[in-house]
Amino acid sequence: MKNKEALDTLHDIKELMEKSTKFMSISGVSAVLVGIYACIGTGLAYFILNEQNSFDTLCNIPLLNINTTYQLALICLIALGVLTLSLFTTFTMSYQKAKKGYRNIFKDKSVHRLLWNFFLPLLAGGILCFSLIWQQHYGLTSSIMLIFYGLSLVNCSKYTYSDIRYLGYAEILLGLVDSFVITHALLFWGIGFGLLHIAAGIYFYYKVEHKQYPARP
């Protein structure tokens, strides 16, 4: 047995262990798109909720005034729209990428584990947010969304590219800062779901996705 043979064997073992436990068909482009949706959503919410104000507020940091049920319904609709579009984009792009690797993502156990671990904290946070809105405590919703989303990412990072957890840490930190700042929820929401996603997606695309299968030594 030669040196190179033993190295190749260990390389194969490692690759199979990762391939069978982790779902690697996530694309950086979808993260960038999700970030763009969130930015558009934030912009829409800002313009619609501040329509009665004059244009010089553009230079100011956006503040959210939710005074009527109409405004509340509108902002919930925008948030749900962004969420639906984001999930749809991520699923479609992952499905396409997985199909290239000949994997059926509906039967794959690693996909089930990934989805379960991702959606468990996210659902808990979502229900908590819903209950807060129901009781008209709007102040903490954006920070709870960010914190629970961050926890979801950290939790599911074991079942996909582990670098995803850094995005999770950033979201948790931002959410905690947000919880101390009383206003500017929309700004934090836009940074967390918009800018961080775009930055993470670009990093992911160049540093991880295109280094997935390095040449063997």
Partner: protein, 100 residues
């Protein structure tokens, strides 16, 4: 040189068997089709390799029906876990000695 080559297990010399063990050691249980797709083997080929590993007592299989379709899942045994770990350690030891 000889003493650590002794630990290199002949049963894992085939690439397919090595692959089966690598997947099973990190997963609780894996079904036949997933294993086949991951390793890119044919039905008959995978069946013969799993049978020989089962005869050695390294893996165990569970046959059940989902609806009317037969479904076979495999999992690693304690003996298999020990044997494979020993094999991996021997490989690493071999490389370490080579690099000095």
């Amino acid at each position: 040189m000889k003493e650590y080559l002794e630990n290199i297990n002949k049963a894992f010399e085939s690439k397919a068997r090595l692959g089966i063990m690598s997947i099973l050691i990190v997963n609780e249980s894996v079904d036949f089709v997933t294993l086949k797709n991951l390793l890119d083997l044919t039905d008959g080929n995978l069946a013969s390799h799993t049978r020989s590993l089962e005869e050695l007592g390294y893996i165990q299989c569970q046959k059940q029906f989902i609806g009317r379709r037969p479904n076979t899942t495999f999992s690693i045994t304690q003996k298999g876990r020990e044997a494979f770990t020993k094999h991996l350690n021997a490989l690493e030891e071999f490389l370490r000695k080579q690099n000095i």
